[in-house]
Amino acid sequence: MRDWQPFLGLPLWVWLFVFPTLFAFFCLLQRDRAARLLRPIWKTLDRIYLGCGVVAACFMVLILLLIVGQMVARWSSMTFPGSTEYAGYAMAATSFFALAYTLTRGGHIRVSIFLNLNKFTRLWMDIAAMLIAAWTATYFARYAVKTNIFSKMLNDRTQGQDYVPEWLLSFFAMFATWPTEWAKLWAETGSEWVYTPVWLPQLPMSIGTILLAIAIWDYLFRLLVNRESSIGGETL
């Protein structure tokens, strides 16, 4: 527990693991009150998951376009520097953005042989499994964000031949700086292209894993409140 710095006076792990777990207990014991509290945000959350699924789909189309571009460039004997890197980034973005969406549509697979034994295991084993999954996903998200922040601090650059325009970096950096600093940020932004800093393609990883963790906690709470899984099944 050495690298869990305090946040608002409490260690970070208390915020990330203990409080959500306590809330899960609250959902278990006080179903009606929890339901009143949670029901209004369910619809919004579902829209966010779907929205990220659509973003993921867009990145999949982007992979296709990048690869077609690469082929066309080769046939017309031009070069498309860094195309494999760009495609790799798009691949990561597709996978990470779609994680939560896939979860809510029942797309992720699990070994359900014991789960389907009877009604009792159907509920309680699902609860236990989702709690463990929620902890793991929270851990995953926490370190994804940490790695992303470190990449920015160390100014880690790509190993390949891929460039991005500097204004794109400044645009995303705006979200991490105070509005008072924005003028300074844009004043320092040149118009040339620079080697891709690793933090930029890592952003989808942070967003996707955070969303996955939220989705699993969310569906755990729904399971505890409704006493039946809200995850839609899908054939195939």
């Binding site: 690298d3 699924g53 659509v54 993921a56 789909a57 999949m60 189309v61 992979i63 296709l64 690869i67 077609v68 690469q70 082929m71 080769r74 494999t84 890197e85 495609a87 790799g88 980034y89 798009a90 691949m91 990561a92 597709t94 996978s95 990470f96 779609a98 994680l99 969406y101 896939t102 979860l103 549509r105 797309g107 992720h108 697979i109 699990r110 070994v111 042989i113 014991f114 789960l115 084993m125 699902d126 236990a128 499994a129 463990i132 999954a133 793991t136 996903a137 851990y139 995953f140 926490r142 370190y143 994804a144 940490k146 790695t147 393609p201 890592q202 990883m205 899908e234 054939t235 195939l236």
Partner: protein, 437 residues
């Protein structure tokens, strides 16, 4: 002693999480974390993200979503139905009749789709009602379908082979090429079985089909030809070295879009459905691969793979005995797990073992696919059986019984692969060198 104790804890957590129905990707991550904490003082979280990021953003992986998407397009538009209809006129005079459409349909659909569940669903939806209406025995309809659907993972493109190739760091193009001949041989075995059944069984046989003119046959199969062109384009471009696996996949997606547009079944609805469906499947597999990447890192620290490889080495097993043991092992594992998970879960341990024993890694990939697919048609957990159950409403035990002859044929295929390894290794050794591979 503490080492053994720690290994015990590690394995216990592995089975507890997987059996406890935690999603496979997260279960693998959880186990890997336990392994890191038990066996090394390296910071687990940072190592985890570094490994996962490298794996998730790799160029090799980009073939995965594109091949899935290509299959989805053909599956959700009317293209595959027409393909099936076009196939039937050519099969009707063979001994065993239209039962052969099950096999041929699966073989062709396998060449455009990477998953056996999708193959089964597609072909089954078309063929079961038709064959039933013509009075073919139920036992044969279900059995041949259950067996032939497994070709979906054998004949390129194959999702299992992509996952295997990414896990063991081998060329996906080579693995795809290696799957072609064994896939065709297996398909031939199934067809031979139908012919044998036709001549030797005493049960009911449907009446022969009325004759059909050659012109009508070609008219019926007009969508078969462009699809064949697409298949040849995808596989041929890889074989000739014009394109990498990913580029061939991109060609496949564009070709599938163009064909379905030409046929008039490409609507905004089918397009978005295929795209979102592909996004889900691709994310599901990518998630498992993320967990597997972290697990194999952690496995390395536990010393388990090395110890097992040394143990196997110390036994002085011949490669054939090793293969026999592994066949049994994967059959048992496949009873409880789906194919993809059993590949990613075991490769960290099995890979050093087979490299030590001097077994060709490409060949092993094909062997693995056959064995894992056999496990998918054996109870209690057989994914193909579940799909068939959903489609036909038969008891799972009945479906499993109909598939027994197919399981026998697939085990025969394993033997054939062991006796003639060239079946898998010849083609990949003879491809032209491709761009950037």
């Amino acid at each position: 002693m503490t080492e053994i104790y720690a290994t015990g804890v590690f394995l216990f957590v592995l089975f507890a999480l997987l059996g406890g129905s935690v999603w496979i990707g997260l279960a693998l991550m959880g186990v890997a974390w336990v392994g890191m904490e038990l066996f090394t003082s390296r910071p687990a979280g940072d190592a985890m993200i570094t490994t996962i990021w490298t794996g998730a953003s790799s160029w090799t992986l980009t073939a995965l979503p594109l091949f899935i998407w290509m299959g989805e397009i053909l599956y959700r538009t009317r293209l595959s139905q027409d393909m099936f209809r076009g196939l039937a006129p050519w099969m009707r005079y063979l001994p065993g009749g239209l039962l052969h459409t099950n096999i041929a349909g699966c073989t062709i659909f396998a060449a455009v789709s990477g998953s056996s569940a999708a193959t089964l669903n597609m072909v089954g939806k078309m063929s079961i009602p038709e064959l039933r209406a013509r009075g073919y025995p139920e036992f044969m309809i279900i059995g041949t379908l259950a067996g032939a659907a497994t070709l979906g993972l054998m004949i390129p493109p194959s999702l299992t082979l992509i996952v295997y190739g990414v896990t063991v760091n081998e060329s996906i193009t080579k693995l795809f090429m290696a799957g072609i001949f064994p896939g065709l041989v297996l398909s031939g075995l199934f067809m031979t079985y139908i012919v044998f059944w036709h001549f030797f069984s005493k049960g009911q046989k449907p009446d022969p089909e009325p004759p059909m003119s050659l012109g009508k046959r070609f008219a019926e199969s007009r969508f078969l030809i462009p699809l064949f062109v697409l298949v040849f384009l995808v596989i041929g471009s890889m074989y000739m070295g014009y394109a990498t696996a990913t580029e061939a996949a991109a060609v496949g997606v564009i070709g599938a879009l163009a064909l379905s547009a030409a046929q008039g079944s490409l609507t905004w609805e089918t397009f978005s459905q295929s795209l979102m469906g592909a996004t889900r499947t691709s994310a599901m597999i990518a998630f498992i691969l993320m967990g597997a990447a972290f697990l194999s890192l952690s496995m390395g620290f536990t010393g388990l793979p090395r110890a097992l490889a040394e143990f196997i080495d110390g036994l002085n097993l011949s490669p054939i005995a090793l293969i026999a043991v592994l066949t049994l092992f994967y059959l048992i594992l496949g009873m409880f797990m789906d194919g993809l998970s059993s590949v990613v879960l075991t490769m960290a341990i099995v890979e050093p073992m087979i490299r030590q024993a001097g077994i060709d890694v490409i060949w092993f990939g094909i062997f693995l696919v056959v064995v894992i697919e056999t496990a998918q048609v054996t109870p209690p957990i057989g994914f193909n059986l579940f799909v068939l159950q959903g489609m036909t409403r038969h008891e799972i035990s009945y479906i499993a019984k109909t598939a027994i002859p197919m399981v026998g044929l697939m085990l025969l295929m394993v033997v054939i692969l062991v006796v003639w390894p060239e079946l898998a290794t010849w083609l990949p050794e003879n491809i032209r060198s491709g761009p950037g591979e």
